[in-house]
Amino acid sequence: MFWTYAALLLLVFVAANVYGRFRALQVAGHQLSVLHSRPTYHGGYLAILSTLPAFVLLIAWAVVEPRMLDMMVISANAEVIEGLSKPELQAFLRDARAIAFGGIVAFSDAGKEQAAEVFASLAQTSFVLKSVLMVGLVLGGLWYGNRAIRPTMRARHFVERTVMGLLILCSAVAIFTTIGIVLSLIFESLMFFRQIPILDFVFGTHWSPQSAFEGAGAEHGEANTKIFGAIPLLVGTMLITAIAIIVAAPIGLLSAIYLSDYASTPVRAIAKPVLEILAGIPTVVYGFFAALTVAPFIRGWGESIGLSVSSESALAAGLVMGIMIIPFVSSLSDDVINAVPQSLRDGSAGLGATKSETIRRVVLPAALPGIVSALILAISRAIGETMIVVMAAGLAANMTVNPLEAVTTVTVQIVTLLVGDQEFDSAKTLAAFALGLLLFCITLALNIFALRVVKKYREQYD
């Protein structure tokens, strides 16, 4: 039903557009110069005026109607519904709807039949009302717009403003979605912190939520507050991220320097895309590469020199993650290094600096802000990475900085908390939100830090 109406509106939109153009030419006596706005804009004006209000109504109706119907059905059947619990009420309404509009009915009874009749008649009324209103809006818009079209009419301004409104709407959607996600993170986390004191969470050094006894929800015991310490996860995350950056930063940066300043054009044309392919490999592939190839290799190597290496190690995960983020570092750094003007390189060479001196003393400092942001982006990416760590670093929340031991990270624990059966209000599930919030705060802090670094060292060259 919704889509039929939307399609009809689209037709009206096109038709009004064509007519508006024609009408504008007509009132101008086919003399374009007397028109304030070109005919296209008059077409757009009429099209918008005739369809936008109806379209907004259509969407509003689609959002509000089911709720309205439910409420009216509930009030019409108050005596049947009385005494039903919330899930029972939902089941009741679901069945009544199914009887009225078709669908799978769990089981029917007289009360539901009665409610279904109310549903059907209300829907009928709603449909008629909606159709009448929409036709009215379209016709009204056409009538008003048609009258308004005259040479001096500022159709262009109207269309531009509508377009701007549309753009604002789209960015508002993006912004409000973000805000919504953050708010839900915060609220769920607050629920978690009602059960587990925030300090126990942020500074606790013991993490073993899987050992929470049955019903770790409402009637949590004293012991429960001691098993949600996030520090081991943070340490694990930092350890793996640090290893990854130690691998990726030099390799990525040096290859960027090679690509931008040393490589000949053909080499560059091949090498750069190849490096970028690394970024296209699914992380799960990196994951089993880490788990099946790198981890055993490190273990064997460790044993051969008499070190005890666990079969899942932070080192394996960190190394592979480092390889994964090389393209982030190299590709972005390459771009910023290339953006340093040739005139600066010439100026340095003209003073007798060698190529490497020029790069070290002029090009890299000039490109530093961009390089820092490339590195931070790579770090954020590494912090948020899950797959490789699940497969290669293990699940054991050891608090250690020894890269040869198994560790776990924030993201991995979020995954393990949320797989399998769960209650939505148990501390175990809510802990995932708290971890999410923690992760969010860390990456946010990183980004703000990066922005400040970039601002402070931003070098103006042009």
Binding site: G347, S348, G350, A353
Partner: protein
């Protein structure tokens, strides 16, 4: 052009044995000499055998319509063309008696002796002090911090910029005005004590007042340095240079005293150019 080798009595005091410098017919020392210089960009030939001398402690102006190879020739003098992959240079370029393109010559040392100032001011995104200190640092010219500060101050002084910037040496060089930036670039070049300074249209991005300042500066610098300047402004060539060379389509048409070139050109093409008939 007649070349005559004479013995310089002063060089007898040198402990190193070096050939006496070349001199012109008038007895002026020739700092740099180009002989049959041909330059190719890939298959395209940009210079067709240019012979040009640069006299010591004089300003030599290179003029000509754009695309005639002025910059190309200038960039041969300190091998800046090396930075262009497709560029190939034939012929000889001599600095005193050293062949600039001799494989044994170290370009780093060459460019310390033959400095360059570019068309667009290109200060490094560093502080004013660091801009000037850049060359001395990479060539290890300063023994101590005080030494370096002395070099920076005196270079800025010679570039006529010291008074304007002495209170803000640690501010970014990119924050200066265009004319100040160009003088900063000149100070930067001076700081490595070059013998020759090459300038490629150094005023073309500057306003008239800044231009006048730079021109004045060029005239002063002549005392201590040999200067080669590319300019598209004939007034500028007339104002700052002692000798002028006119290029056209990759050849050197005519070279001589600036005065002669502008008042009494021998070649019809030069005549046409300076009277504004083309270019």
């Amino acid at each position: 052009m007649a070349l005559e080798m004479t013995t310089d009595t002063e060089s007898a005091m040198d402990t190193t044995i070096s050939a006496p410098p070349a001199v012109s017919a008038e007895g002026e020392t020739l700092k740099m000499r180009g002989r049959d210089v041909k330059v190719f960009y890939g298959d395209k030939q940009a210079l067709h055998g240019v012979d040009l001398d640069v006299r010591k402690n004089q300003v030599t102006a290179l003029i000509g319509p754009s695309g005639c190879g002025k910059s190309t020739f200038l960039r041969c003098l300190n091998r800046m063309n090396d930075t262009i992959d497709i560029c190939r240079v034939e012929g000889d370029i001599l600095l005193d008696n050293d062949d600039v393109y001799d494989p044994r010559i170290d370009v780093v040392e060459l460019r310390a002796r033959v400095g360059m100032v570019f068309q667009k001011p290109n200060p490094f995104p560093k502080s004013i002090f660091e801009n000037v200190a850049y060359g001395p640092r990479i060539h290890g010219l300063a023994q101590s911090k005080a030494d370096l500060e002395e070099i920076v101050a005196s270079s800025l002084q010679r570039a006529g910029l010291f008074e304007e910037v002495k209170d803000r040496l640690d501010e970014p060089g990119t924050g200066l005005s265009g004319g100040q930036q160009q003088r900063l670039c000149i100070a930067r070049a001076i700081a490595v004590s070059p013998e020759v300074i090459l300038m490629d249209e150094p005023c073309s991005a500057l306003d008239p007042i800044a231009t006048a300042k730079v021109e004045e500066l060029i005239d002063e610098l002549r005392q201590n340095y040999t200067i080669v300047i590319v300019t598209h402004s004939m007034q500028q060539a007339a104002r700052v240079s002692q000798r002028t060379a006119f290029f056209h389509l990759g050849t050197l048409v005519e070279e001589g005293l600036t005065n002669d070139i502008f008042t009494n050109p021998k070649d019809q093409r030069t005549q046409d150019y300076i009277t504004g008939r083309f270019g």
